[in-house]
């Protein structure tokens, strides 16, 4: 086998050294009844070329070469070439978690830069080195808020990504954290703060909102913050479209931000791997889940970096840890770091402006469902035309339309969620307009 670096004679020598007459000897101590007595029922190994061929065929079974207006938590953005150039360097790709700081300064410094940029983007004071994704980041943020406030009840906006809420529910249910949802305004698609106020109580540890919310609407975070804080709860703000932070004021009043960085040069990849983050205020740092890199010095006085505050983590604290997370999404975070570096201060703004312009052009071709302000995504409906019918027509033109909302919001069964980014071409948007007309 080409990945195995021992010749037969080397294996023989090593077996001899071990005093084993054959490889079987090495397993002789296993209980007989636990042994597999037949070969695995898997075909023999294939060559590199056949592997590529196999996956090419699979790729061809997918929608290759379609324009798409799907967003809903996963966005199509240009991926600067440098991102893969960096991520494919063996030194980053094939290294482990940087526990041995002296030979992992490259990864450590990049994470430190990542943490810094996430803070700059979100306006928070500290950010961790990544979570699995946005949805689990939210669940962890909720548990973090419960620890910080000593109160487990969660009040979650229905305009938070439905799948994020499902994940949250799974965690909350088993943690014994009561979870209640509050609504959105039928006209604006923004938070129904009256509903929130109504449902707020003294047991509530966290109010959870998303902005831009699942409908793309830039939401009323400040109001939510006031209500949450008045009730002694923390405000958790979720984002799924990181590019929006290039132009939107970071959520003022948030105590914890849980977000998804897929938009930062991470290909949609059928839903993962992506990278979640948690950013918060310094005072909550001991409650943070996930790894943190800190700056320090080496014995010669040179600046150095290392993993730190590990007493929050499972490998030290075990059942008392702030989270069970161990392996995270480091390489994806690195890719996002390269993305942020390439775009930089001016680029991220310009990128966000292009998204804004494209989405507003698309919106001008169709009928937005809500009147709330939006960034690069919005709900739309065509009187008398079902979303599925519109999409079917678009598919014939090799365009994947929007996400029909009925799946998650029965009351919005007449609407679909459309996203436009810098990659959206005017001609395709015009085609969507025609399909809606």
């Amino acid at each position: 086998m080409r990945y195995l670096p021992k010749s037969d004679s080397e294996s023989r020598e090593m077996l001899d050294a071990c005093g084993a007459s054959s490889a079987e000897d090495l397993f002789a101590h296993l209980p007989e009844e636990a042994r597999l007595k037949r070969p695995l029922d898997l075909p023999p190994g294939i060559s590199e070329y056949e592997i590529v061929q196999y996956f090419r065929e699979r790729a061809a079974e997918n929608a290759d070469g379609y324009a798409s207006f799907l967003g809903a938590g996963v966005y199509s953005h240009f991926r600067p070439v440098l991102v893969d150039t960096v991520a494919e360097r063996g030194e980053f790709l094939t290294s482990y978690t940087p526990y041995q700081a002296e030979i992992a300064q490259g990864t450590l410094m990049a994470i430190f830069e990542f943490q810094t940029m996430i803070c700059q983007l979100t306006g928070m004071e500290v950010a961790n080195a990544s979570m699995y994704d946005g949805s689990t980041a939210l669940a962890e943020a909720a548990m973090m808020a419960a620890r910080a406030t000593g109160k487990g009840r969660l009040l979650v906006a229905r305009s938070v990504h439905p799948e994020y809420r499902e994940v949250l529910r799974t965690y909350a249910r088993n943690q014994g954290m009561p979870l209640e949802e509050f609504g959105y305004l039928e006209d604006a698609g923004a938070l129904d703060t009256e509903d929130l106020e109504r449902k707020m109580d003294g047991l509530t540890g966290a109010v959870i909102v998303q902005s831009p919310n699942f409908f793309g609407v830039v939401d009323r975070v400040r109001e939510a913050a006031e209500i949450a804080h008045e009730g002694g709860a923390l405000l958790i703000v979720v984002f799924t479209e990181a590019v929006s932070l290039g132009i939107l004021e970071p959520p003022a009043g948030a105590d914890i931000i849980a977000g998804e960085l897929q938009s930062f040069a991470i290909s949609p990849s059928y839903g993962g791997p992506f990278a979640g983050i948690i950013a918060t205020r310094e005072k909550f740092i001991r409650q943070m889940p996930g790894r943190l890199v800190g700056q320090t010095v080496d014995t010669r006085g040179n600046r150095a970096f290392c993993l730190t505050l590990a007493t929050r983590e499972q490998h030290i604290r075990r059942e008392k840890a702030t989270s069970n997370i161990c392996t995270n999404q480091a390489l994806i975070a690195l890719m996002a770091t390269v993305f942020m570096t390439v775009y930089g201060k001016r680029g991220l703004r310009e990128l966000a402006e292009q998204n804004l312009a494209k989405a507003h052009y698309l919106a001008s071709q169709v009928k937005p469902r809500f009147c709330g302000k939006f960034f690069n995504e919005f709900a739309a409906r065509a009187p008398g035309k079902a979303p599925d019918a519109i999409n079917k027509g678009l598919l014939k033109r090799r365009i994947i339309g929007g996400l029909p909302l009925g799946r998650f919001y029965p009351e919005l069964a007449d609407s679909m969620l459309l996203s436009a980014t810098e990659m959206s071409r005017r001609a395709d948007m015009d085609a969507v307009g025609e399909a809606f007309a």
Partner: protein, 490 residues
């Protein structure tokens, strides 16, 4: 004598923020083909931010140099052996990176119509089937993002099953040799944790188990081979005890690299286990992730798998969301799909016979190291080794040198250290897992290095205590980092 490395120059590099200068750019966007929009009008003045303070401003050449220079400060599998016990740092085949980037796969949106996602779904289905065969289990979910996430998912399913049976029970038993994620995951699943001491030979103590398994015990979480690299000889008896008392057996499958084609958890009594695709199935660690932690279960647990489940309808695959007993979702979408692609590529490359050879070679390598080093390092548990071997620093500690010091000195010899101070049941552990992708030459270098260090401990402990000496960064002050945390540049 250090023969594997020599000193060479390595480029310094400031933080990105220190490199920035106003107006430098590394990007260009195509010109807008639609009218520009005034942000203040579209978003409302109060929602529009000013410029992002401190955000980098560099050119493309500076960006590539920055990250290239940083990269050279890392050690990596591509440089040499990485014997981190429990981590299974094996070679990461590059073809896997190629296929994961094929456009039709990499650009598939999780919500694109199923008819236009059959390729991705087929990849998932084939991987599920292969993992089921390798583990001897009945059903697999690919949703969990890493091992710990898989543990949580598995324990939640056990909880759901027991709840359905009438009582979720209260606690999970965990051997004292277990990985830290096991108790942490159990707690997130809503359970208490009871640690069970290992037997004097480092394995499950059946007598103790008999004593502690009562009606409050939901499951035992066991790692097999355990973290000493020892196969749990009594695993089937343990399963019987648990099952007879209405509890389940969860296996941490992090060490499956020892067992492929050799023994299957499904055949030795396990009810649920997770796999770490970033260990056994060679998806790259990437400096800490991403991974994937699929969970395989027996039929009884199948109704509780997370939604959605992949289902075959004739020739078509579909996602099934209507599963009333499911624990729900543990992650948005379907898992770390790009990682799954790589793992399947790995399985296809080896095939059945190849995977068995992987395990055989992994075990051979560990035993070879054990044999060559046991004269120099204390072996606290002498049961036969599988894929890894755990020594202790007992002899070296007499000279004041601890496992962490030995590890740092190993860096000077051109290796990444082994895993330090784990498992906890070994005081001063040196946990060494070579994996099957090390050849004899590299192993011999490692063995020589370890023996040489053992000698240094006797003759010149100071050199070991102050290691590493050859690296661009000498020993790092972790205490200061934790005492006065500086977690971002300002």
């Amino acid at each position: 004598m250090i023969t594997k490395v020599r000193p060479h120059l390595s480029q310094n590099e400031p933080l990105l923020f220190e490199r920035s200068s106003p107006g430098k750019i590394a990007f260009q966007l195509p010109e807008l083909d639609v009218p520009a929009v005034k942000a203040e009008e579209a978003l409302g003045e109060e929602n529009v931010r000013g410029s992002i303070e401190g955000f980098p401003e560099v050119s493309e050449v500076e960006a590539i140099r920055h990250f290239t220079r940083l990269s050279t400060w890392n050690y990596a599998i591509d440089y040499g052996m990485y014997p981190l016990g429990s981590c299974t740092m094996k070679y990461n085949p590059r073809v896997n990176e190629v296929v994961a980037r094929l456009e039709g796969l990499a650009w598939a949106h999780p919500y694109q119509p199923e008819a236009l996602a059959q390729g991705s779904m087929e990849v998932a289905a084939r991987l599920e089937a292969a993992l089921a065969e390798i583990t001897g289990m009945d059903a697999v979910t690919l949703q969990p993002a890493a091992g710990a996430h898989g543990e949580l998912t598995g324990i939640l399913m056990i909880r759901a099953l027991l709840t359905r049976r009438g009582n979720p029970r209260k606690k999970i038993l965990i051997p004292d040799s277990a990985h830290g994620t096991n108790p942490a995951s159990a707690v997130i699943a809503g359970y208490g944790v009871e640690h069970v001491p290992s037997s004097p030979t480092g394995v499950l103590d059946l007598g103790a188990l008999e004593r502690v398994v009562d009606r409050d015990v939901a499951a035992l979480m066991v790692t097999n081979p355990n973290t000493l690299g020892v196969f749990e000889h009594d695993i089937m008896r343990a399963a019987e005890i648990l099952h007879s008392r209405g509890a389940l057996l969860y296996m941490d499958g992090a060490n499956m690299n020892a067992l492929m084609g050799i023994a299957r958890p499904g055949d030795f009594g396990v009810d649920a286990l997770h796999l770490n695709l970033h260990k056994t199935f060679s998806t790259p660690h990437g400096g800490g992730g991403p991974g994937a932690g699929p969970v395989a279960v027996k039929k009884e647990l199948e109704p509780f798998l997370p939604i959605p489940r992949l289902k075959r309808l004739g020739k078509r695959l579909t996602w099934d969301y209507k599963r009333k007993h499911s624990i729900g979702r543990v992650r948005a979408f379907y898992g770390n799909f790009g990682v799954l692609v790589r793992a399947l590529a790995y399985i296809l490359a080896h095939g059945g016979p190849g995977l068995r050879k992987v395990s055989v070679d992994a075990v051979l390598n560990a035993n070879y190291i054990r044999k060559q080093l046991e004269a120099y390092f204390e072996l606290p548990y002498t049961a036969p080794s599988m894929h890894e071997v755990v020594f202790s620093d007992e002899r070296q500690a007499k000279q004041g040198v601890r496992t962490g010091d030995l590890a740092k000195r190993l860096i000077d010899y051109g290796f990444h250290p082994y895993t330090v101070s784990f498992p906890l049941i070994v005081h001063g552990a040196l946990m060494i897992e070579p994996t099957e992708t090390e050849g004899k030459r590299e192993l011999d270098h490692f063995i020589e290095a370890m023996i040489s260090i053992a000698r240094e401990v006797e003759e010149d402990p100071k050199t070991v205590l102050s290691a590493p000496h050859g690296t661009r960064t000498s020993r790092v002050d972790e205490v200061m980092a934790a005492r006065k945390p500086v977690l971002r540049w300002r």
